[in-house]
């Protein structure tokens, strides 16, 4: 009797467990497959929203147009430079700052709150506040500071457009790295550190042999999450430079948006979309392998 019940229960739980996962999996599956299939299809036909009737099959023509587009290589390199620089800046500074605020000092709690705040600012606000209140060549705070020291104010978004974007995006994501890393540091074994110090280990050796290995996992998570969001960075560019001047701040995401919604060329934009998806998958392959391993193995 009891074995019958447990067997029955086992079957029903097995069945139910599938039923419970179903909604999530099927929703995500649809979300992935339908648009992707459509993008793939659009990428092989002629499709301009201005002439929607004319939909001839064109094979790979859209792809060759997209790759020959003057914005293509700038788009690729800007995407890589953006993601790479912001990752580097946020991880390095994030690690140093979280180590710094890990030692007790007066007002530690407030300092932590101030440090993490920019992360909660919405991208459009970030972009507009930096563009108009801080980096504006006439009335921006930076211009005031420059003038105070007798220097000529800089028109940041015109003279150093990509650098400016990297700066404002880093400002937003640095707090994220700090938030994760400084919390991770709180669980670092203090006694071990003390023992190492008594054994004569220097600050750098402690940092390298104890702190850094302890932060390896959270740093992987920071890199993964930031990469996800940075690869498709859009709002910050949309609200500040609009991809310009020229193609200087056009990343892949913005280039595709530009072709689809501003030039109405759905075919070419879709080819761009497929390229972006392929690139993202290459990145995802390595990231997911690294991160997925470290996250699921641990338990």
């Amino acid at each position: 009797m009891s074995s019958h019940v447990s067997n029955h229960a086992k079957n029903s739980t097995h069945w139910m467990s599938r039923l419970l996962v179903m909604p999530s999996v099927s929703m995500l599956l649809l979300w992935m497959i339908i648009p992707l299939a459509m993008t793939l299809y659009f990428s092989t036909i002629q499709y301009n929203l201005l002439y929607p009737e004319d939909n001839a099959f064109v094979g790979f023509e859209n792809y060759s147009y997209f790759i020959e587009d003057p914005g293509f290589w700038p788009g690729i390199s800007n995407t890589l430079i953006l993601v790479g620089s912001v990752l580097l800046i946020t991880v390095v500074l994030g690690t140093l700052i979280s180590v710094l605020v890990n030692t007790p000092f007066w007002g530690q709690g407030i300092v932590r709150i101030l440090l993490i705040s920019p992360f909660f600012i919405m991208p459009t606000v970030n972009a507009l506040v930096w563009k108009n209140l801080l980096l504006h060549p006439v009335s921006g705070v930076f211009a005031h500071v420059w003038r105070f020291f007798g220097a000529e104010p800089v028109d940041w978004f015109a003279q150093y457009p990509l650098f400016s974007i990297i700066m404002i995006v880093s400002w937003q994501w640095l707090p994220f790295a700090i938030l994760l890393l400084m919390t991770a540091l709180q669980s670092l074994d203090q006694e071990q550190q003390e023992a190492a110090r008594l054994d004569g280990a220097g600050i750098w050796s402690i940092f390298y042999h104890l702190t850094l290995p302890h932060l390896a996992r959270p740093i992987t998570v920071v890199i993964m999450i930031e990469t996800i969001f940075l690869l498709s960075l859009f709002a910050e560019i949309f609200t500040t430079t609009g991809g310009g001047p020229g193609y200087e701040t056009t990343n892949l995401a913005y280039l595709i948006y530009d072709q689809a919604l501003l030039q109405y060329d759905v075919g070419m934009a879709s080819a761009g979309g497929v390229v972006a998806v392929v690139l993202a998958n290459i990145a995802a392959f390595f990231l997911i392998r690294a991160v997925g391993k470290s996250l699921t193995d641990h338990k």
């Binding site: 007002g107 006439v138 919390t183 959270p218 992987t220 995401a253 689809a260």
Partner: protein, 278 residues
């Protein structure tokens, strides 16, 4: 000797403290400046050198509300964020429950696959989604945003809740089951109370992500369903002096989330790091 050592230590703490405060104030300055500017008149906001001493005015906040009906956009943000979070929880909790407690051979690959859908760049599917939404007559509706936000946040939500459920010892659930608890009892009286914190942090993160989302909201809404991100973006090409008003609208758009963030930073970290940070 003893004294100098202590002095040395005190000096070190002082230097570290000063450095940390310096960095923190520097990073926070843009937010402080935005808040300050929002209480200035447009003339003061534009003045050179910048004015620190001025009579604060609420004029900007009033003008914004008259000119662009702040509450319309704020309401859209609230509705979209809350409903999308609810919908997400409704779908994610059962999935995470099943994955955490009835693990099969495929569970891990399913989880990784879910995460990989996050890697799909939104621009890659912008056109099809735009057309689908348009064909469904859902352009510029809150419904479209709710569904899309749920879908883009779902992988992260499932992951987070999964990590929290994993921390609950299976024995406790089994014991409850042995005592004859039904599934519903098991969930409401054991599972939910034990993972309150985790679920709360998932909800918070989802709210923040929805509130700040600025790709689909900019591309799929124009006026009727436009949330605060779109309202702020509409201030990107204004006429005349507008710094103070821009600051006021930005402050209003960000204040709720910053405050939530301050109070829940510990919870958030656990969630954001998928349990890699406790």
């Amino acid at each position: 000797m003893h004294l100098t050592l202590r002095h040395q230590k005190q000096l070190k703490t002082l230097v570290i403290g000063a450095l940390a405060w310096g960095i923190a104030l520097l990073l926070f300055f843009p937010i402080f400046w935005m808040l300050l500017t929002s209480f200035k008149t447009e003339i003061e906001a534009f003045s050179t050198p910048p004015s620190f001493l001025f009579t604060p005015t609420l004029e900007n906040y009033l003008t914004i509300n008259e000119r662009s009906d702040y509450f319309h956009f704020a309401w859209n943000s609230v509705v979209v964020s809350v409903l999308s979070t609810l919908l997400g929880m409704l779908v994610a909790v059962p999935a995470a429950y099943s994955m955490a407690f009835f693990e099969t051979k495929r569970t891990k690959s399913t989880l990784l696959w879910m995460l990989s859908t996050k890697m799909l760049p939104p621009v890659g599917v912008l056109v099809p989604i735009y057309l689908l939404v348009k064909d469904a007559g859902l352009l510029d509706t809150k419904a479209a945003l709710i569904v899309i936000y749920t879908l883009i946040n779902l992988p992260i939500m499932v992951w987070m809740i999964y990590t929290y459920f994993k921390e609950i010892p299976k024995d406790i659930l089994e014991a409850a089951r042995m005592d004859g608890a039904t599934l519903l009892q098991e969930v409401t009286s054991v599972l939910l109370p034990m993972s309150k914190g985790g679920l709360a942090s998932t909800i918070l993160l989802s709210l923040i992500l929805c509130w700040n989302e600025a790709f689909w909201s900019l591309n799929l809404t124009s006026s009727e369903a436009a949330p605060l991100t779109a309202l702020v973006a509409s201030y990107s090409s204004p006429e005349g002096l507008f710094w103070a008003k821009l600051s006021a609208v930005s402050t209003l758009a960000c204040a709720p989330i910053i405050i939530i963030g301050w109070f829940s930073q510990k919870q958030l970290v656990r969630g954001l790091s998928f349990g890699a940070v406790k």
